[in-house]
């Protein structure tokens, strides 16, 4: 797939786990159960509360502004090939193209991966057909630009400048080019909404974009925008899963503290080693 991207810093170290042990199996089973349970209970029609995420409300505002000004929008789904962050980006793209099709506002989608390009084209075509205006879809607006990180950046910079873009959306995996895109968007006066699971790039979006979706608000986006019961349920399930992680860590902290005070209790408190990688 696509090669290494220059990103600057790597996250904490990643230990490639080859096969699951029992602890991992049980932990993941619990998390999966919590998420699926909430999805299915939401599908049965349970009302769910989701807090406000200001950055995501801004998406509709940005679409509205481009429509009023009669200028195009740009959506960049990030640099990565087909992976989970890109899938989420494409789900957000679907929401935005549907709005674009509804208001007949032009949206340009430059991509950095052939497969992502293919799916993005399909999503856009689909969205225009669903709104009953398939003839408004311009296949040239969904483009493959380059799978080279900085050639892609140079192309998006060119489009942002030349097409007089009014709203710039950046969702997906971004690396060192995040600031190039966001700062150029700012310079051309576009209203910008951005979100990425790449933690190193979030600060650059915060400084240069108007609205930044932080951390796992990125994965909450499609639920928040579509209000689909499945997705809302999943979002609540994710909260429960995170709560489970917090409980495990709290128990671990208490145990570690007790062990530090009374090393002799190790015989009773050795559950910690189950999680030892």
């Amino acid at each position: 797939m696509s090669g290494m991207r220059a990103s600057g810093r790597k996250a904490e170290k990643v230990n490639p786990m080859i096969h699951a042990n029992w602890t991992v199996t049980i932990l993941e089973a619990v998390l999966v159960f919590l998420i699926l349970y909430k999805i299915f209970s939401a599908r049965r029609g349970k009302e769910l509360y989701i807090r406000k995420i200001p950055g995501l409300n801004a998406i509709d505002e940005a679409v509205g502004r481009a429509t009023e000004m009669g200028r195009p929008m740009l959506f960049s789904p990030g640099l990565s090939g087909l992976g989970l962050p890109t899938l989420q980006a494409l789900a957000i793209l679907k929401h935005i193209t549907s709005a674009a099709a509804k208001y007949r506002t032009r949206i340009i989608v430059p991509t950095a991966d052939s497969v992502v390009y293919t799916i993005a084209e399909e999503i856009s075509k689909d969205a225009y057909s669903a709104q009953g205006v398939p003839e408004h879809f311009n296949p040239e607006d969904v483009r493959f630009l380059s799978d080279d990180q900085f050639a892609y950046a140079s192309g998006v910079v060119g489009i942002l400048n030349r097409e007089n873009v009014a709203s710039n959306f950046m969702f997906g995996n971004f690396f060192a080019e995040s600031l190039i895109l966001a700062e150029t968007g700012h310079q051309v006066g576009a209203i910008q909404v951005a979100g990425t699971p790449q933690i190193t790039q979030i600060p650059f979006f915060i400084t240069a974009a108007d609205y930044t979706i932080i951390g796992d608000e990125f994965y909450a986006a499609s639920a928040y925008l579509s209000r689909e019961p499945t997705l809302l349920g999943s979002l609540v399930g994710q909260d429960y899963a995170k709560a489970a992680l917090i409980l495990i860590m709290a128990a671990g902290i208490v145990t570690a503290t007790l062990l530090a005070i009374h090393p002799a209790w190790a015989a009773w408190l050795d559950w910690l080693k189950w999680l030892k990688p």
């Binding site: 998420i35 080279d148 796992d216």
Partner: protein
């Protein structure tokens, strides 16, 4: 067909190419005809099943305990093949990307739209770089290597490094504009950035170089403060964000695998 029986290893490359083409046509048409037999109402189900089965390969391989002697289970051999196959299949999609580029720039040229000369520059650069690559690979000589190096160093590497270095300019303008003490949040961000920036450069180390190198005073040396920020509070915050992101990704994976993500990508009936 051809490649399996008729053409044996050692045959000339062009014969292999013909054989691959022939096999592709035979197998491709067979699969195509087979797929026509699938009734329209089962198409969606077929896609759902294939998605689920594909997901099973990696997940079952991960969860089934491995033979302690070899470190492998019954699927480990298969996933190595699947990983290669995925890479190969993915690589064939590059043609679509190239098609997209050619369609866009080709139309620019054909209709003499404004900027058409840029599109011709695109084509020239594309073919020059591609041919130089194959030339130096297939017919290595001083000439082909020089040409390849000239184009690679002079265009791809140089423009890439330049585009990358533009971040240096933009970091200055973004920091200047955004780091104002407008709110508590902005002030916190500014403070951390300020300390870490100073702690990383020689001049920062110089400012506090009069502090002792050991003991309590050394804690306040700028480079140590900056190191502490990066390794204690920053690491904890990073870990907390990452937990959320990872759980979000896991949920996304689950929904995709089980095709619960209805309406997230496609709506049109098949």
């Amino acid at each position: 067909m051809f490649t399996g029986w008729l053409i044996k290893p050692g045959a000339p490359q062009w014969l292999w190419a013909l054989g691959v083409l022939g096999d592709f046509l035979i197998f491709g048409s067979a699969l195509f005809l087979l797929l026509q037999l699938v009734p329209v109402r089962y198409r969606k189900a077929l896609v759902v099943i294939i998605t689920f089965l594909a997901g099973l390969i990696y997940s079952v391989e991960f969860f089934v305990p491995a033979d302690p002697k070899t470190g492998k289970n019954f699927l480990t051999g298969l996933i190595e093949q699947v990983a290669d196959a995925t890479n190969v299949v993915y690589a064939f999609a590059l043609g679509l990307g190239i098609y997209s580029l050619f369609r866009f720039h080709g139309r620019n040229l054909a209709r003499k739209r404004s900027g058409w000369h840029n599109s011709s520059a695109f084509f020239i650069a594309f073919f020059a770089m591609m041919l130089a690559g194959f030339w130096h690979d297939l017919r290595p000589s001083a000439m082909s290597r020089n040409t390849y190096n000239m184009l690679f160093d002079g265009i791809v590497a140089a423009l890439g490094a330049t585009m990358f270095s533009i971040v240096g300019f933009f970091i200055v303008s973004a920091a200047y504009r955004a780091f104002r003490i407008r709110s508590a949040e902005a002030t916190l961000m500014l403070t951390a950035a300020f300390i870490v920036m100073l702690g990383q450069v020689p001049i920062g180390a110089y400012i506090t170089s009069s502090l002792p190198t050991a003991g309590l005073g050394s804690l306040f040396k700028l480079e140590n403060v900056s190191y502490w920020i990066l390794n204690e509070p920053n690491m904890a915050a990073w870990r907390a964000i990452a937990f959320g992101i990872e759980v979000g990704a896991l949920a996304m994976a689950l929904r995709t695998w089980l095709s619960l993500e209805r309406g997230s990508f496609f709506e049109r009936e098949l």
